[in-house]
């Protein structure tokens, strides 16, 4: 018996798009305008395009980027995107067997306002992640979002993902706020500065011209060092 003859599942990509706006970690939710769960909030996503014959269709990562573009208008540049986990429990979609490859994306806060609803979406909104627990999302999307949060919080301290949630130029206190907001607790300014300085010594960052004007003492502005 040939594999071609087995029934096949549909495969989708779903996106947990995160950003920080108004000192809150937020996830992008869209309102579904087609069944099932019509009218419910859901993660942006859609089916992976699978070709027939010679053309086998698009890669998974490409499908994730395409959905991000289509449903939110966020272009492929400057958006961090990484595969999260694959959710494939039987029955998670009432219509038919759907296996979804979940991704999470990190959007710089200056790009967040540019998001607009598109595709099969009637509305898009940045929702505080703390509100997720009490919300009803379509399918198992709440579980997916929670998994993304765990991943991001877990990677915060041993990876560079915090830099994806800050504008291209940023101050040390701004970066510290990202850590505080994502981790959900205060971060000591002095201790954080030490950690930051150790990163600096590795040469991935450099000072940018100018100072950030705030209500008090302006802070030094940094940016990523250009690959030269």
């Amino acid at each position: 018996m040939n594999a071609r003859d087995y029934p096949r599942p549909s495969v989708s990509v779903d996106l947990v798009v995160l950003t920080i706006v108004d000192a809150q970690l937020r996830v992008l939710l869209v309102k579904r305008k087609i069944p099932p769960f019509k009218g419910s909030w859901a993660l942006p996503g859609g089916f992976v395009r699978v070709g027939e014959g010679d053309d086998q269709g698009e890669d998974l990562d490409a499908a994730a980027r395409r959905e991000l573009q289509e449903e939110t208008g966020l272009g492929p540049d400057r958006v961090f995107l990484e595969q999260l986990f694959t959710f494939g429990k039987a029955g998670r979609d009432p219509r038919m067997r759907v296996i979804t490859v979940a991704y999470y994306a990190l959007v710089r806060p200056d790009l967040a306002p540019l998001v607009r609803a598109g595709g099969d979406v009637s509305d898009a909104e940045w929702v505080e992640v703390s509100a997720l627990e009490k919300m009803e999302l379509a399918f198992d999307h709440r579980d997916i979002a929670q998994a993304a949060l765990e991943r991001v919080r877990g990677k915060l301290d041993y990876s560079d993902i915090a830099f994806e949630l800050v504008p291209v130029t940023f101050t040390i206190p701004e970066l510290r706020h990202v850590y505080a907001i994502v981790a959900g607790r205060e971060v000591d300014p002095g201790n954080f500065r030490r950690r930051f300085n150790r990163m600096m010594e590795n040469g991935v960052l450099e000072k940018a011209p100018g100072k950030r004007i705030t209500v008090s003492k302006p802070a030094t502005v940094y940016r990523f060092k250009r690959a030269s």
Copy 2:
């Protein structure tokens, strides 16, 4: 247009089954007896069973456990199994679009000899992971195996997975060998013992009766504390 009408991919699970035998970290490879890549070494795996109509078929985890059982004879007990990553590049299977959800499994060394070939498999062998680089495996299975190794090595120091590669009762030096073999470098006996003692204080382990007889001073035997 309904999602039902799009062409769908086949979805498989592939397993990176690891164990330690003869002081080597080894991965289980099977010889394919059907095309494509007939006669090549490959990871054990197979297609996820997807139902039609009301029955949506088996969960992804269940598919992984079933394939493990079918192709190797390893029962579901005492085998650690965790989803790794989903590989879905177009063209990775020459026949048709196949998206594979990769899992990795850790097998206690005392169970490793019980493995026997089954299913669509004519032979099964525990291959040293160091030999993988130079081997040609079917599909993108070498990439999948490498990803599993990275995951296991990365989790070694902040999780309990090392205990999955040791018999039910074990000595501190035996556990230390697991760390050394997986990490690929010597581990200081004294320093390791300190770390181990900290684990002990958390109460997940207890002394087991008897001593392990070796060529010199016998070592104390430990085991996991029964959930009581």
